[in-house]
């Protein structure tokens, strides 16, 4: 019957639903964007990793820097598997992700044409053009389209990329190497810069191949005994803060690169050995970060975590959320007034009808329920439409923002819409409508049955 009554005055019902829908859409879109922005900002502060992430470095803690988010580390203190196991066993620690690293020589593409003297790849030892003293990477002489490349020393960082969300690693373009791949790597922004490419041009390195060189050294003279080159494909560009190094790969590839020099028989032990260059420790929550850091310091290691900054920025963002919510709630309040007004008008117009209902046996609560159902229906339909509209608005804004961000070589934004926001928006609209309809419904319920026979 409530639906019939709404259909009887389609214009009024449509306008009321529209008011609710616009308010719900505004609230929904604002909250979705605010939540996404908050997630993005906090993610940026944690370098794409967990907000409760702690980066442990192979150094003693510096007592004078205690309590700082990013302290200067003390003297070196090797991280070992047993140390990592100890940290893993600490109270309030959710997980520990070791970070390994291996020194490599990187020879990037593009390959110069074979006919050019300048075009031979320049390897540091035994390469063809080292004697020419070419300045590493860059374009050839002015006016030349020849590209000169030379290998350069850096590190390949190995982490369990399956735990990307917990790592201070953000994928900017392309994809992550396939699980446990020994032929695929991601590169950092430094690599892109070395090629003379801008952030916007970063995608040009995707699908290209680099050679990774590993050397065996004679420790006494400093010379090298042998070198090994392997080719790997660049499949993604990342922004990573796990450890210094231009490349990121699965630990297996790093282990192979670091382990090869050790297979040199008599030379074994004279070359850099594979060690943990850090560990990402995930605390149970943001509030446990300080406690865990204290325990790590007691274990003899320096750590850093932007928890202070995150908490501080989080507070400001919370205020922004409150303001945006306030705007949405004001809009919803205006819509509620619209519902109340429409229903009060309906009560005025339907006095005799309400009287007739009572004359044929309707109780006060039957009339109350009828008007509340009308109000709830207006709120529910408006809320549903508004939520769909609001999410569409948020998606459109997100797409626009992503276009801009990716054009600037930055990671895109993933719109953070779970089920709570849409469900809350629809239910909230219905509840607000019910609240707005309460007064008109009470008035209707209290009308005397005698209204049925009033002139």
């Amino acid at each position: 019957m409530a639906a019939r009554e709404l259909r009887r005055r389609p214009g009024r019902a449509a306008l009321t639903v529209l008011a609710v829908a616009l308010a719900a859409a505004l609230l929904c879109a604002l909250l979705a964007i605010a939540e996404t922005a908050k997630t993005r900002v906090l993610s940026q502060l944690s370098h794409g990793g967990s907000l409760a992430g702690i980066l442990v470095t192979p150094n003693f803690p510096n007592p004078s820097q205690a309590g700082l988010d990013n302290p200067q580390p003390g003297p070196e203190h090797a991280l070992t598997a047993s140390t990592i196991a100890h940290i893993q066993a600490l109270h309030d620690v959710s997980s520990v992700i070791p970070v390994t690293s291996a020194p490599v020589e990187v020879l990037p593409p593009p390959r110069p044409p074979a006919s050019s003297k300048l075009c031979q790849p320049i390897r540091p030892h035994g390469g063809f053009c080292a004697q020419q003293g070419l300045p590493g990477f860059g374009r050839g002489p002015a006016g030349s389209d020849v590209v000169v490349v030379a290998a350069y020393p850096t590190s390949v960082v190995g982490v369990d990329l399956g735990k990307l969300s917990a790592l201070p690693v953000t994928l900017l373009a392309g994809r992550l190497p396939r699980p446990h791949s020994s032929t695929e790597v991601d590169v950092g922004q430094q690599y892109v810069s070395r090629l003379g490419l801008t952030r916007q041009e970063a995608t040009e390195v995707l699908g290209t191949f680099v050679e990774l060189g590993t050397l065996q050294y004679i420790s006494s003279s400093g010379g090298y005994a042998a070198e090994r080159w392997v080719t790997v494909e660049i499949v993604g560009v990342v922004d990573q803060q796990a450890a210094p190094g231009d490349l990121v790969a699965w630990p297996g590839l790093v282990q192979a690169e670091a382990g090869w020099p050790l297979q040199g028989g008599a030379l074994a032990g004279s070359t850099p050995s594979p060690t943990y260059v850090g560990a990402v420790v995930i605390a149970d929550g943001l509030n446990q970060v300080s406690t865990v850091r204290d325990e790590i310091a007691l274990a003899g290691y320096s750590s850093s975590a932007p928890v202070g900054l995150i908490l501080s920025v989080g507070r400001y963002l919370h205020v922004v959320e409150l303001v945006l919510s306030g705007i949405g709630i004001v809009a919803l309040g205006i819509a509620a007034l619209g519902i109340a007004n429409a229903l009060l008008a309906a009560v005025r117009e339907r006095r005799r009808e309400i009287g007739v209902l009572k004359a044929i046996g309707a109780r006060d609560r039957d009339v109350l329920r009828m008007f509340l159902v009308e109000a709830g229906a207006l709120g529910l339909v408006g809320g549903l439409l508004g939520t769909v509209l609001g999410i569409a608005m948020a998606l459109a804004i997100d797409a626009d923002a992503n276009t801009y961000l990716t054009s600037q070589g930055l990671a895109g934004v993933q719109l953070a819409i779970g089920w709570v926001l849409p469900a809350g928006s629809v239910l909230g609209s219905a509840i607000v409508a019910l609240a707005a309809g309460a007064l008109p419904a009470l008035r209707a319920a209290r009308l005397p049955a005698r209204e049925a026979v009033e002139a």
């Binding site: 019957m1 019939r4 209902l357 044929i360 109780r363 006060d364 005397p448 005698r450 049925a452 026979v453």
Partner: protein, 217 residues
């Protein structure tokens, strides 16, 4: 004032004499300021709000001058509404509503809305709704007030047939002489007081003589 079970009583008198108020009190649309109303041994003044609603739902059938139909509902749905309030199931509602609409001659108008019906047809729907729950008392407030003479006669016939067939008590407020002349008794009201009771034969004689009751007082 006493009205016997199965009696047909017409309340007559000038405007403002209290006819409709008396009808409202009999139908529990309002409580009397003084005195009491006892219907079938039930003192209405002692009933709660819900008790009065139950009384209106089960014991009384109202017929209004303005028909009192809900414009958004069809004829069938208007009748079903009374049955819904009485807690009847969907199937039972539909069957009973169809039956009573057939009884008032509207079997071809079940799905029509009030706006699509003539005045006489609307009043028939209202009568069907009034009798849907099988009330013992039918209260009609100027049931022919908005109808032409032909439709008024038809409605009068219908009301009388309901009384004869259903055995219910019929109390109506009317200015229509012929309709009132068909009553067992006419009760004259003036300024809220019962002035006189006129037996049916006298009433019929007055009607034949063309006596205007509204000026009688």
């Amino acid at each position: 004032m006493e009205i016997a079970r199965g009696e047909y009583v017409a309340l007559v008198g000038p405007s403002g004499s209290g006819k409709t108020t008396l009808l409202s009190v009999l139908g529990a649309l309002e409580r009397p300021q003084v005195g009491s109303v006892v219907v079938a041994g039930q003192d209405l003044s002692k009933l709660s709000g819900d008790g009065l609603a139950l009384y209106r739902r089960t014991e009384v059938g109202f017929v209004f001058q303005h028909f009192g139909l809900l414009a958004a509902l069809t004829a069938l749905e208007n009748v079903e509404l009374a049955l819904t309030l009485a807690g009847r199931g969907r199937g039972q509602r539909r069957r009973r509503a169809t039956d009573v609409l057939e009884r008032v001659g509207l079997q071809d108008r079940l799905e029509h809305r009030p706006a699509e019906l003539s005045g006489g047809e609307r009043q028939r729907v209202a009568i069907a709704r009034a009798i849907a729950n099988g009330p013992r008392l039918i209260l009609a407030d100027e049931p022919t007030g908005n109808l032409d003479e032909r439709a008024s006669v038809a409605i009068g016939d219908l009301l009388e047939s309901l009384r004869h067939d259903g055995g219910c008590t019929l109390v109506l407020v009317t200015h229509n002489r012929l309709l009132a002349s068909r009553a067992d008794r006419r009760l004259w009201l003036h300024s809220g007081r019962l002035q006189a009771t006129e037996p049916v034969l006298e009433a019929r004689a007055s009607a034949v003589a063309g006596h205007d009751w509204t000026e009688h007082t």
